[in-house]
């Protein structure tokens, strides 16, 4: 079990780190898809199959497509060939310092924490149970999330739409 977890972690963290370090955006996006798939694998490992499928559908399926489109739409020629600016070096260094110190404090906190012993067996959570809980207990939240998604969709369309036809000067 632990071996499987470690394998999944290596895949997930490795592809994520590579994605953050690559200079080619397409590569980064594809590596991130791999990382998200690793997260989905972790969910499967933990016994949350439904969440794993949702993760695959949303991240590996939908968000990655949007990201790829955004990358293609905003691609600038030969960005990878540009020389690295001094400002980028200092920013990278400070970012690494901040991230490392955060990792250190949280890691130490986690390592020294004591949790109550848990049952060794994986809890059984059927899709039916999740569906019932979603519809009954969290019905209102589900509706609100639906509205949020709809509004976000319309908002994204409006923001990204090409509004050159309308001059903002003489908009009412």
């Amino acid at each position: 079990m632990t071996a499987a977890l470690l394998l999944i972690a290596v895949l997930m963290l490795g592809s994520a780190a590579a994605a953050m370090l690559r200079r080619n955006l397409i590569h980064s996006a594809l590596l991130l898809v791999a990382s998200w798939t690793g997260v989905a694998a972790f969910y499967l490992w933990a016994g949350a199959e439904f969440v794993a499928f949702a993760q695959i559908l949303v991240y590996a399926g939908a968000v990655s497509m949007v990201v790829l489109f955004a990358v293609l739409l905003t691609r600038q020629s030969r960005e990878a060939d540009l020389p690295i600016e001094p400002a980028t070096v200092t920013r990278t260094a400070s970012a690494f310092a901040v991230a490392a110190s955060l990792a250190a404090v949280i890691g130490s906190a986690v390592a020294t924490a004591r949790f109550p012993a848990a049952s060794a067996e994986a809890p059984a959570a059927s899709v039916k149970q999740i569906g019932l809980e979603l519809m009954a207990e969290h019905g209102a939240a589900l509706l609100i999330v639906g509205i949020v998604l709809t509004v976000a969709l319309i908002g994204a369309t409006v923001i990204a739409s090409n509004d050159k036809k309308r001059d903002p000067e003489d908009a009412p």
Binding site: A19, A62, V67, L102, N162
Partner: protein, 103 residues
């Protein structure tokens, strides 16, 4: 070292990788993706505590993750639309150049 500790350490690592990406990269798309990674790290925590928590029978952890994924999807859509709008405005998507709102 229980599996719960291991899971939490993995999520910490993923969170810090995401933070590093968000802080280091100048491409706004990558900044956004770093933030997505941090969100995923939080989701891993939820699942871990559900799996090894005191009351695994309740599906609350999973429900929480589902909502989180939904909101993250919305955030990604709006964020990427904003990136396209910014690109149309300043012809690149370098985050350090989008400083119109400075005081």
């Amino acid at each position: 070292m229980t599996p719960l500790h291991l899971c939490l350490l993995i999520s910490t690592a993923l969170f810090c990788i995401g933070l590093f990406g968000a802080l280091a990269r100048s491409n706004t798309i990558l900044v956004l993706l770093g933030i997505e990674l941090m969100l995923n790290a939080a989701n891993i925590n939820f699942i871990a505590f559900w799996r090894y928590g005191p009351n695994p029978a309740a599906a609350n952890g999973m429900i929480f993750v589902l909502f989180s994924i939904a909101v993250a999807a919305a955030e990604a859509a709006v964020g990427l639309a904003l990136i396209i709008a910014v690109y149309r405005h300043q012809k690149n998507i370098r985050l350090q150049e989008a400083t119109v709102l400075k005081g």
